[in-house]
């Protein structure tokens, strides 16, 4: 079939959200001719929900993206209006950076970055179909993607296609009884691409998520509210950002109360999640206010964070009262909340239902098992969060580019990064609610800290060709300085103990140690703050970090027992039927991964190991 217009690229990325940005930048930077196709060039890098980046476990992911050579950390450092390090009272593994973004600024900077990138074509197109061809893949006969077909009879031929369509497949928004087709207020839905995926044998399911109303700051009575300022010494996300100099804006906190809860209870029958209008699963950790009131009826108040959406706007995001209740209820709700009695709603809250593709249909590279050269990343895989999406975009991008170049696949282990944990979880276990990262998902989290993301991952990013000379030499200098300092601490003694032993004591921190070294030995421990903190953390937590390192080695033993690609689990008759079915569906690539599939027991693994010997 001839098309009126045809283009040819190495990689085509569909969707200009946080996943699409990282995917297309990675491909272009790795030398692939790349196209980024988006429904609207104005919404590249848009924050559809909360105007914030990072948070517990998510902040660590942003640092990892940056360490690997991704863009998210740099974008937020340049556009944030408030920085806070969360969990500061806990140990270093729990410290998590978070920042409020100037939403519009973030977006324009993201767009500008994509536009300036060599090898990358940004274009507004509505992708309606995939161009497929029959192919014989390693796992048997299958199909292969050859490109995408856009509205208006246009074909983009591509060696690899990455789908990052977010919530836009068959998207339907709900505000009370009112339903609107679209993936985000004011935007359209992608109907035909979903059909095209279904027709190609990709299974789709539905999730729901929601967003709160936005209000006009001029109408908030801040005098009644608790103030939440940013950190005095903001810690940047990117290892290449030296210092944050811009002034910060505060957030404010208020609370719901019994009156609000009574109002919600009285109108529950009009909430789409309760009236039966929406039947699919939403994220439990991000419940709507109606969910909170129903599930935790004994709580007499819930926190509401009022977060500014930017420096050049009065718009405020009401974090904590996500809702799909009808407009009149949203309006009345605010009237009972201290400080918001006279608040004017600028945009209404809504819930959105969308199609996602169960990620067990993917390899660890995020390439589809059913359709060769087709990659999936972001919310389309059933995740939530800009950070989770961006990380997947980066991994899919690197893998697509490497496949174009005939190089080996790029898989990050669970012991190496939160990103590795997430992708392994998605591909191995699948999702039954929108997937968000938590530190508790990472069994080796004491090693996966935000402070050492560069030391863990920058060598990997360098190998992929995403880390420039300057960043690389900076890391090498840092490693050298850490090594020097550590050998100084093991060689110098005071009263029979090495400085390292002294630092390991309960009541001694780096500053104490520096004083001891100066006063008793006349040695200066002066160094950059991040060198001192790396050395201090390594020494103080040596026992635990060492234990985790041992666990990682044990873990790697099972990971290294690979399962052949065409392995027929059905022929192991000693396996329970359920186990055979699950293994056949997920097709794990190694024994460790097999063990993480839910419903697979240690006994199943024992049998599998007997067979693989």
């Amino acid at each position: 079939m001839p098309f009126s217009l045809e283009f040819e690229f190495d990689v085509v990325v569909v969707g200009g959200g946080h996943a699409g940005i990282e995917a297309s930048l990675a491909c272009a930077r790795m030398g692939c001719r790349t196209a980024l196709l988006t429904m609207s060039a104005d919404t590249v890098g848009m924050m559809s929900c909360n105007p914030a980046i990072g948070g517990i476990a998510k902040g660590q992911i942003v640092r990892e993206i940056d360490a690997l050579g991704g863009e998210m950390g740099k974008l937020i450092d340049a556009t944030a209006i408030q920085f806070r390090m969360l969990n500061k009272t806990k140990g270093p593994a729990m410290h998590s950076p978070r920042a409020q973004a100037d939403k519009k600024h973030y977006q324009t900077l993201a767009k500008d970055t994509v536009e300036r990138q060599a090898n990358l074509t940004l274009r507004q197109e509505l992708v309606e179909n995939l161009l497929l061809e029959k192919a014989c893949s390693a796992t048997g006969p299958g199909r292969k993607v050859m490109g995408v077909i856009c509205r208006g009879d246009t074909l983009y031929r591509a060696k690899m296609v990455i789908l990052t369509t977010g919530t836009f497949l068959k998207a339907l928004m709900h505000t009370g009884e009112a339903k609107t087709v679209g993936g985000r207020a004011g935007d359209a839905s992608s109907e035909s691409l979903g059909e095209s995926l279904l027709a190609s044998g990709i299974e789709l399911a539905r999730f729901k998520t929601g967003t709160p109303c936005r209000i006009n700051g001029r109408t908030i009575d801040f005098s009644q509210l608790e103030i939440q300022p940013g950190d005095d010494q903001p810690v940047p996300f990117s290892f290449s950002t030296r210092k944050i100099e811009r002034p910060q804006l505060p957030c404010h906190i208020t609370y719901t109360n019994q009156q609000v809860h009574d109002l919600i209870r009285a109108n529950l029958h009009r909430a789409p999640m309760y009236s039966g209008q929406i039947r699919c699963q939403g994220p439990r950790y991000c419940p709507s206010i109606e969910d909170k009131v129903v599930r935790f009826a004994d709580k007499d108040r819930h926190q509401v964070f009022l977060e500014p959406e930017g420096r050049n706007t009065q718009e405020y995001y009401c974090n904590g009262i996500s809702t799909s209740l009808p407009k009149d209820v949203q309006q009345k709700m605010l009237q009972h909340i201290p400080g918001l009695e006279k608040a004017e709603i600028l945009r209404w809250g809504y819930a959105v239902e969308y199609d996602f593709a169960q990620p067990t249909q993917l390899h660890l590279t995020l390439e589809s098992k059913a359709i060769e050269n087709l990659f999936f990343a972001g919310q389309l895989n059933g995740t939530t969060g800009y950070e989770e999406a961006a990380a997947q975009g980066l991994v899919a991008g690197v893998n697509a580019a490497r496949k174009v170049q005939g190089k080996s696949s790029f898989v990050i282990e669970r012991g190496a990064a939160y990103i590795g944990v997430m992708i392994d979880d998605l591909v191995t276990k699948g999702v039954d609610e929108p997937y968000r990262m938590f530190t508790s998902r990472a069994e080796y989290r004491l090693q996966l800290r935000h402070d050492n993301a560069d030391r863990r991952l920058t060598p990997l990013g360098r190998e992929m060709g995403l880390v420039g000379e300057e960043t690389w030499s900076q890391l090498q200098k840092k490693e050298y300085a850490i090594g020097q300092m550590r050998s100084l601490l093991t060689s110098q003694r005071s009263e029979g103990n090495t400085l390292e032993q002294i630092l390991r004591r309960h009541d001694v921190n780096w500053n104490h140690l520096a004083t001891i070294a100066q006063e008793r030995l006349g040695i200066s421990l002066d160094c950059e703050g991040e060198i001192a903190s790396q050395v201090e953390i390594e020494i103080k937590y040596q026992g635990y970090i060492g234990r985790q390192a041992e666990q990682v080695i044990k873990f790697q033993k099972l990971e290294s027992k690979t399962i052949p690609l065409r392995f027929d689990f059905e022929k192991i008759t000693q396996l329970r039927k359920e186990a055979r079915e699950k293994l056949t569906r997920v097709r794990p690539s190694n024994v460790g991964q097999a063990g993480r599939i839910s419903g697979i027991s240690p006994a199943d693994i024992a049998v599998l190991l007997l067979y693989l010997k």
């Binding site: 517990i56 806990k90 926190q303 964070f305 839910s598």
Partner: protein, 446 residues
């Protein structure tokens, strides 16, 4: 356990009831094609007997040499059987002639006789049993008296599992609270109070400690070999008993027949716990008291793993007569009064006065114990106890961390490992169920 994968696919059969007088005997068969084999050697009333998940059938058996009898078959299709594979039980009138003939026919079909514990092993590998159930079944198979049987049965029914399950459940909830505290630090919720944390760790610590102690006691009665002293009256059995224990437990007197009842005590040699039993002298019973004592003694001899036969050098005929009565027992002959005479050459000479020879007796008992205890599943018990002890270590460290207010994520690591170690015993793996617990307990998220 060195089983080949082929071995796990084989069809196997075993007599499931003890040989000896009984109304009915049972042969159990399991494997991939046992139903086909059964259809060939047994005529059943039902033409398609094995189609349902499980069933009960009447039938008859006729051997090639003209033997014929009626029987019943119960069947369970895989995976809903004890072994996780197709399994059947043949119930028939107890007779060694019948059972031998049936087993012969099965073997001719290609079925092989099961190794000890093989049904259980398959059940375990197929996820039908957890390790402690395996161990309990092992004890039922091995049980030699009512007390042991009862003990093992209570373990099967969850005697030990229940407290461990409870502890694991408590710890999972505690871990969920600790994790919520880490992952949702900025909610205005207090997830766990300091004193509550300490209290709950202490509680778990106590519970796991008690369970381990119970487990050790059970293995004492269920697994420990019984070393029984026997010999003619006044041969120095009670003296040897006391010498081995290093204490005066048995009433020692120079008058023949002082030990009218049997005494038992725990003997630990080289870390192996054994039960040492003293019995009255072997003699022809006269009066009522002696008769009862002799009956009790012969029960002890029946249960013995090792019989230490105490005698003087003119007692070889006694030993010969005695060992004819207990042909399946291991005997260790000891010349007890070596200061008077050394005894025959293969006897161990012991002097309770000078302690000479006692070390040799102990060493001999241990080596006999090792010879008699090569059970394929015994090591599972050790694994179970090992995992529990690891969990205990984790809890001790967690307690320390909580006391000194150390970072919560370190405590979480210990709790997580404790849960994993208890899970090893119970056959559970650590799962995402942690998040479910967090979300069901707290209103978290914005």
């Amino acid at each position: 356990m060195r089983y080949q994968i082929e071995a796990l696919e084989d069809d196997i059969a075993a007599l499931a009831t003890p040989p000896g007088p009984a109304l009915e005997a049972v042969i159990r068969v399991t494997g991939l094609s046992v139903f086909q084999h059964l259809s060939k050697i047994i005529s059943l009333n039902d033409p398609n007997p094995f189609e349902k998940k499980k069933g009960f059938h009447l039938g008859s058996y006729q051997s090639s040499d003209g033997l014929s009898f009626a029987l019943r078959i119960y069947h369970w299709r895989a995976p809903n059987s004890y072994s996780g594979q197709d399994l059947a039980e043949i119930h028939f009138p107890a007779s060694s002639v019948f059972s031998n003939s049936l087993l012969d026919s099965l073997v001719q079909q290609g079925v092989r006789l099961a190794r000890r514990g093989e049904f259980t092993l398959r059940g375990f590998l197929n996820g039908k049993l957890d390790i402690s159930q395996v161990d309990a079944i092992h004890q039922v198979i091995e049980a030699t008296d009512a007390h042991i049987l009862e003990n093992a049965l209570s373990r099967l029914a969850g005697g030990l599992l229940t407290p461990l399950k409870e502890s694991r459940e408590d710890l999972l909830n505690l871990l969920a609270d600790v994790e919520a505290n880490l992952d949702f630090a900025h909610e205005d919720i207090s997830f766990i109070a300091e004193e509550d944390l300490l209290r709950r760790i202490t509680h778990a610590l106590a519970k796991v400690t008690l369970t381990i102690r119970k487990m050790e006691n059970r293995s004492l009665t269920g697994q420990s070999p019984r070393v029984v002293l026997a010999g003619p009256p006044n041969a120095g059995k009670s003296t040897l008993f006391n010498s081995l224990l290093g204490a005066k437990s048995a009433l020692v007197s120079p008058i023949p027949g002082s030990t009218r009842d049997f005494l038992q005590s725990t003997l630990v040699v080289d870390g192996i716990t054994m039960v040492l039993v003293d019995t009255p002298g072997v003699e022809s019973a006269k009066g009522g008291l002696e008769k009862t004592a002799q009956e009790l003694a012969s029960r002890e001899w029946e249960m013995a793993s090792v019989i230490v036969f105490c005698a003087e050098d003119n007692h070889q005929p006694w030993l010969d007569r005695f060992s004819k009565r207990f042909t399946d027992k291991v005997f260790l002959p000891v010349a007890t009064k070596s200061d008077l005479s050394q005894g025959p050459p293969h006897w161990i000479a012991v002097s309770s006065l000078t302690q000479a020879g006692l070390g040799k007796v102990r060493a001999e008992i241990v080596s006999l114990f090792y010879e008699s205890s090569n059970s394929p599943l015994g090591e599972e018990l050790e694994k179970t106890q090992g995992s529990c002890k690891k969990a205990l270590e984790n809890l001790r460290r967690a307690h320390h961390l909580a006391l000194f207010n150390e970072p919560m994520e370190l405590l979480a690591l210990e709790l997580r490992e404790a849960v994993e170690n208890l899970g090893m015993v119970l056959g559970h793996v650590f799962t995402d169920d942690l998040l479910d617990r967090m979300f069901s307990r707290f209103c978290v998220g914005k």
